[in-house]
Structure formats: C-alpha cells, structure tokens
C-alpha cells in the first residue's frame, strides 16, 4: 500500500510536470481513482498475493534500473572525452564477467521461489462450493449454474445511457450478471461458442481464455461483497472491447434469494447442450 502511495505521488508529480497549469486533469486523477497507477484493490487472497509478489518484483526492477542509470551517469561524468582523454586498454576481466553472470542467477533464484509458490497457489483448484460456467460469444457472455438445474442467461453490455441510468461505469455494465456468495470457493468453467475470448476479473486475480472446444477451469473466493467489473481479454473481433464481465458478490441469504428468482426468471432460456455434457465431467486436480 505504501508503495502505491509512493507511485501516486510520483504520478502526480509527473502530471504537474507535464501539464503545468492544467488543473482539470490533475484534479481528475485525485477524484477518479488515485490507485489507477497500480493494481485494482484486491478482493481475493490470490490477488493479494499477486500484488505483494509484484511489489517485490517492482522494487527489484527499480533497483536494477537505477543501478544501470547511476553507473551510466557516473561513466558520462568520469569517462567523457574531456575528463579522460586517454582511454584504457582493458578488454576483459574474467572475475568481473563471472560475477555479473552469477549475480543475476542468484537474483533470479530469489525471484523463482516465491514465483512458483504463487503459481501453484493460484493454479491448483481447491474443493469448490459451487460451480459456474461462463461461455464467451461474439460479443457477450452467457452464464450457467449447473448446481441449480442448469439455468442460464446472457449478459450483454448496456449502452452508455443505460449504464448511466443503472449506475454502472460506462462500457463495464451488463444487463444481467453473474451472482456468487461471499467467502465461498467458486469454480469457474470457461469455454466459448465461436472464437477465443478471455474471462477476467482483475480484482480477483483471474484471467483465463475461453477457447471453443476446450473447457478451462479457474477459481476464486471473493472476500468482500460488492460489484466487480472486468473486460474480455482476448481479441475476439469487432466488439472485443464491448463485452464486459460483471460479478456481484453477495451474502449467503441474498444469494439464495437470487437463485430462487433466477431459476424462475431464466427457466425458459435454452442451455447449450455441448456445455451441459461438459459440466458432468469431474474436476481436474
């Protein structure tokens, strides 16, 4: 968090530098989302781990970049043609070369350990409390609830006016949306009906391709109630930028009420046969 603050400060400084008196823009970022420089606020353990691992990597990135920068500046001052008219004749130094081969290897090993831990944490799917299927289409998402008689519905993007009326951000609101209970492990089964799409909710740390003819799995366990927004993350044609993903995380009671409502409301919707068969397959460990 403190790192985010530092970044925000740097950004405000940059903006002031770039725009001088253009107060409207600088004002805009204070109001809109000061944390838009970094990741979105994490809502799952996985995303928290991604953010903290990334923060570590970021420190390493900044340290290496600054090191290279300061060495370059030192060289410019010390070894420019005026300061050092006679160049040295050195062409190699085995010890030095060994050091700058070994040192990066050590740094990489230090990175690799938490990297693999994070990868196996995110990628191995725990025992799920419920399963939801998302199917990407050109250009909307369909959702199916196999745990509840396979009711299904489509979620299509709202126009700018509809989104404003419904209180959703522009380009991120959909007419219907997926609802899940808070603090439950949700197993997502993702596929597509036409071309490849990708289902992503940044705050959950989830992004997985929806590939036609292939069932992909991922999971999340949202810790806070609220509305979460994501966008299709694989180029899928003309309206790739216009098939947002909305997930509402609610309490257990509200979820049960929603399920009761949805079973009736969406009972008449057709469920895609292909994916119904797929839902009977056992979960992959």
């Amino acid at each position: 968090m403190s790192l985010n603050k530092i970044l925000s400060t740097v950004a405000v400084f940059l903006v002031t530098l770039l725009f001088g008196g253009a107060a409207a823009l600088a004002d805009g970022i204070y109001k809109a989302k000061p944390d838009q420089l970094g990741f979105m606020e994490p809502a799952t353990e996985v995303m928290r781990d991604i953010v903290s691992f990334h923060n570590g990597l970021l420190i390493m990135c900044i340290a290496i970049t600054l090191f290279v920068m300061f060495v370059m500046i030192y060289i410019f001052i010390k070894f420019n043609a005026k300061a050092n008219p006679i160049p040295s004749k050195t062409t190699h130094h085995t010890g030095l070369e060994v050091v700058w081969t070994i040192l990066p290897i050590v740094i990489l090993l230090i990175i690799a350990v938490p990297s693999f831990r994070l990868l196996y944490l995110t990628d191995v799917i725990p025992e799920a409390d419920l399963t939801v299927k998302a199917i990407g289409h050109q250009w909307y998402w369909s959702y199916e609830y196999p745990d509840h008689d396979d009711f299904s519905f489509d979620a299509t993007m709202l126009s700018d006016e509809e989104a404003a009326a419904a209180g959703h951000p522009r380009l991120l609101g959909t007419d219907t949306h997926m609802v899940v209970p808070v603090n439950k492990t949700v197993r997502m089964i993702i596929t597509a009906g036409d071309v490849i799409h990708a289902w992503a909710i940044p705050a959950f740390g989830v992004k997985i391709d929806a590939v036609p003819g292939k069932l992909n799995e991922t999971w999340f366990k949202a810790e806070r109630e609220g509305m979460y927004y994501g966008q299709c993350s694989e180029l899928c044609g003309k309206d790739h930028g216009f098939m947002p993903i909305m997930v509402e995380v609610v309490s257990e009671e509200k979820y049960n009420a929603w399920i009761a409502m949805a079973r009736e409301e969406y009972a008449t919707n057709e469920t895609d046969n292909l994916t119904r068969v797929a839902s009977t397959l056992p979960a992959q460990q």
Partner: protein, 535 residues
C-alpha cells in the same frame, strides 16, 4: 581492375536487376523508411482514437459508421504490428545494414548469392502490397484483417469471411520466403566468404549478431509458414487443423505461431545488440569488453529463445507444471541479456567517450532496453502474468524492447553509417534534436501504459472505461512528440542527401576499427578485389 571490367549498370537496371549488396541494402533501407512511415501513421490513428473516451475519431475514416470504426481499429492494430515487424525493423536491420556491412566487415566482395539477394528484396514490395490491398477488401463484415498480428484461429478462420485474411496470409508467405532466402544467403556468406585470417572468433559482433539472427529465421519461419498454410486450408479447403469440431485444436495454432513468434522478437533485437556494441566501442575509443562473452551471450539468447514460446500463452489453460517450466526457462534469458548490458557499461568504463548522435541513440537504447528487460522479468512469472496478460502492461513492455530497443538501434546505425553509405555527413543539430525529441516522445507514450496495464486496461480495444482516460491522453500527447521527432528525422535525411560536404574514409577516428572504415565513403561499387588479410 575487376570492378571496371563489368562496369556499373545505370538507370532502372542498376536497381531492379541489382545484384550488388550495397545497392540492395540501400533499397532495403528506403523500403524500411517508407514502411515505417505507414506503420507509424497507423499507430497515430489508433492513438488518435484512444486520446478521448468514446469512438469519434476513426469514424472520420468510415463515413461516421461506428461499427466499421471498431473493426477499422482492429485492422490498424494488425497492420501496425505486421508492418513494423516484417516491413520495417527486419528490412532495416537485416536487409539494410546486414546487406551493406556484413560482406564488408568480413572482407568479402559481395554476398554469396547475389541474384538470390535481389529476389529477397523484391519479394518485399509484393508482400507489403498484398497486405495493403487486404485493408480494402472484405474481412469480417467490414474490410480488412482485424485479427491482430498473431492471426489467432478461429478468429482468423471462421471469424473472418472474405478474402482479406487470405491476402494477409499470402503477404506473410512472401515476406517469410524473402527472409528465408536472405537467411540462407547470410549463412553461406558468413561461413564461406570470410577474408583470410577472419576466424569466427575475430568476426565483428554485428556479423555475429546477424549470424545468430538468420539461424533463428531459418529455423522458425518454416514453422510459421506451415501454421499459416494450415490457416489457409482451414479457411478454404474444409480442413480442421485448428477447429475442435473436426478434431483439431485452436491452441495448436498458438503453439506453432509462438514457436516462430518468440524467436522472431529476438530476430528484431539481436542485430541491434550487435550494432550497439560497435557504436559503444567506437565512441568510447576502446575495444568491446568481453568480446567472446558478448558473442556467446547472443548465441545463448538465440538458443534459449526457442524453448520459451508458451510464456505468451499463460492464460490459455495450460497445465501448471508446463507453466512452471516456461517461467523458469524465460527467467534464464535475463542472464545473457544482463551480460550484454554489463559488458556495454564495462566497455565505456575507462573509455574516452564522445557523445555523437549514434552514441546518444545507442545509450538511449541501453537504458530503455533495460527498462523493457526488467518488465520482461516481471511478465515471465506465470503467476503474476495472469494479472497482466493482454493488458497495456504487455504493450508497454514490448514497445520498450522494440520501439526503443530495436528502433533506437536502427537510428543509431543510421547515423553511424550514413556517412559511410552516402559519403555525406548528417546534420549535427538536427540529428541531436531528433534524438532528444524521440527520447522524450517514446517515454511519454509508453511509460504511462504500464499504469494502464496494471489498472487492468485490455489491449486492442478502441474505447475504454473512463478511469483510463488520463494516461491514454498522456500517451497520445507522447505520440505527437514522437511524430514531430520523425519529421525532424526526415528533414535530417533530406539535409544529409543534399549536403555538399564529404566525409573521409574513417569518420570516427581510431575507435572505429572494422573493415568498412578502411574503404572510401561511399565504398567503391565492388570492394575488396584483392582480399584484405586479417592479422
């Protein structure tokens, strides 16, 4: 003397029928500049659309049709990517500088197969013509190919009716054939035509870089040609290579594509590595530090570059152990790359540095490539990449390596060698202005894109949620600065070619030790009628 014996052809015959490596190199460079202007203009249209939320810029080009504008945006991302990769960076570095200076640096009179050299070049205008034509014929409802440069199936098969994608595939076939022929030519030249005494371990690093590069091309392009041929048959002849409904697999295409695509991005940067080594050494008046380490670091990058391809595919649903392998393999690339950066710094250490324009671009390349390198290490980790995959963070990363790494080394090479190639000096003030404007411009374009990516903005979208407005606006301002820088470059080119001044054989003094500086500027039509002997 031999050179007078067959004389210099004149008029159109000199160029169209050329078998002279320097003339062909010149044509490649002109081609790359023209293609770069087209590709750059395309990115300008994209940045114009992204400057403000809503779709109201590209509609100017589609008669107000918003739906057509959305597709046009995808056509632009596709065209920009393909043109910059196949028709700008590769022709400039390999076809242009490679053709011009590889034979000279190894003390050869010309390339091994001069006629093949001619066809290598002349396939390119045909290839880019097919790509440009594809923009105007039917694609997915609207004209043009909107698949991205990766041309992923099934968006490129069942997702795109009309002949646009077929034309683009033919374009890539031709560009690929051109590169394969060029690669064979360079390999034969470098292995067989070195002057007496020019052993592999005495070869200039630029020649080493081209040698590694053309091996990457030779081994990866046939795979790519196979993949896009399968696309073609899936589209037109009812095959099912990439269609699960017929037993195929859409992900097979991605594996084949990236088996080519990842070595390809090293193809774009390795010649730049070679070039920057010469420039750093020349302007520090010191031999390159750790020559053998530098040469074999490039070989290592080339070899490891073949076994990391699926790090482009972390979100396709691969097995977790596979992801772990590709994470580890990808991290390994940082080691030889680090060796290169440190060796450049060590070359300058103790040197007597002159900040001429080529040196400025080389130094800019080293620093900015470092930034692109460290974000590459971040993206290598499959766990973190979940959050960044297909966001602007990736766009920022690869433009730091390509648009700053590859393009800066092209500009560095241009200013380093334009005196040698034309015999005329480049304008001092204009060239330095070009550097500073471009340096500021590209950073203003691409640095904020890291923020956009972390905040979750997906790639390849023509309109974005309003929270992403500020940094998109800044990025477009950066494009305008860079665009101005490009105009300054073109003014500099014009002034150079119009210059009445002449430069001597060795413009850069004692730091410049390779063979091209022993020849006149410009070199004779045929050089080394008597082979030089390397001590």
């Amino acid at each position: 003397m031999g050179s007078e014996a067959h004389g210099i052809p004149t008029g159109w015959r000199r160029w169209v029928l050329s078998t002279n490596h320097k003339d062909i190199g010149t044509m490649y460079l002109i081609f790359a500049i023209l293609a770069g202007i087209i590709g750059g203009a395309m990115s300008g249209l994209m940045r114009g659309e992204l400057m403000e939320p809503g779709i109201d810029f590209l509609t100017n080009f589609t008669g107000g049709d918003v739906e057509a504008a959305k597709h046009f945006f995808n056509v632009l991302t596709t065209g920009h990517g393909l043109i910059m990769v196949f028709f700008m960076v590769m022709p400039a570095l390999i076809g242009g500088f490679g053709n011009w200076f590889v034979p000279i640096m190894i003390g050869a009179p010309d390339m091994a197969f001069p006629r093949m050299n001619n066809i290598s070049f002349w396939l390119l205008p045909a290839a880019i013509s097919l790509l440009v034509i594809s923009i105007f014929v039917e694609g997915a409802t609207y004209p043009g190919v909107g698949t991205g440069w990766t041309v992923y199936a099934p968006l490129s098969t069942s997702g795109h009716g009309g002949p646009a994608v077929d034309l683009a595939i033919f374009s890539l076939h031709l560009a690929g054939a051109s590169s394969i022929l060029g690669a064979i030519n360079f390999i034969c030249t470098i292995f067989n035509m070195r002057a007496p005494g020019m052993t592999l371990h005495k070869m200039p690093l630029f020649v080493w870089s081209i040698l590694v590069t053309v091996f990457l091309l030779l081994l990866s392009l046939p795979v790519f040609a196979g993949a896009i041929t399968m696309l073609l048959t899936d589209r037109n002849f009812d095959t099912y290579f990439f269609d699960a409904a017929g037993g195929g697999d859409p992900l097979l295409y991605q594996h084949l594509f990236w088996f080519f695509g990842h070595p390809e991005v090293y193809v774009l940067i390795l010649p730049g590595f070679g070039l920057v080594s010469h420039i750093i050494s020349t302007f520090s008046r010191k031999p390159i530090f750790g020559y053998l380490g530098m040469a074999y670091a490039m070989v290592a990058i080339g070899v490891v570059g073949f076994v990391v391809w699926a790090h482009h595919m972390y979100t396709v649903g691969m097995d977790v152990d596979t992801k772990a392998y590709f994470t580890a393999a990808t991290l390994v690339i940082a080691v030889p790359t680090g060796i290169k950066i440190f060796s450049w710094l060590a070359t300058m250490w103790g040197g007597s540095i002159k900040f001429e324009t080529p040196m400025l671009f080389a130094l800019g390349m080293i620093f900015l490539f470092t930034i692109g390198g460290v974000t590459g290490v971040v993206l290598a980790n499959a766990g973190v990449d979940t959050a960044m995959h297909d966001t602007y963070y990736v766009v920022a990363h690869f433009h730091y390596t390509m648009s700053m790494g590859a393009l800066f080394s092209i500009f560095a090479g241009w200013y380093y060698w334009i005196g040698k190639m034309s015999g005329k000096p480049y304008p001092q003030f204009i060239s330095k202005l070009h550097f500073w404007v471009t340096f500021v411009g590209v950073n203003v374009i691409f640095f904020p894109q890291h923020f956009l990516g972390l905040a979750g903005m997906p790639r390849r979208i023509p309109d974005y949620p309003d929270a992403y407005h500020l940094w998109n606006y800044v990025s477009t301002v950066g494009y305008m600065i860079t665009g101005f820088g490009t105009l300054v470059f073109l003014v500099g080119v014009y002034m150079t070619l119009r210059s009445k001044e002449r430069v001597g054989d060795n413009q850069w003094g004692e730091g410049a030790t390779t063979l091209e500086w022993t020849l006149s500027s410009p070199p004779p039509f045929h050089q080394f009628n008597e082979l030089p002997r390397i001590k």
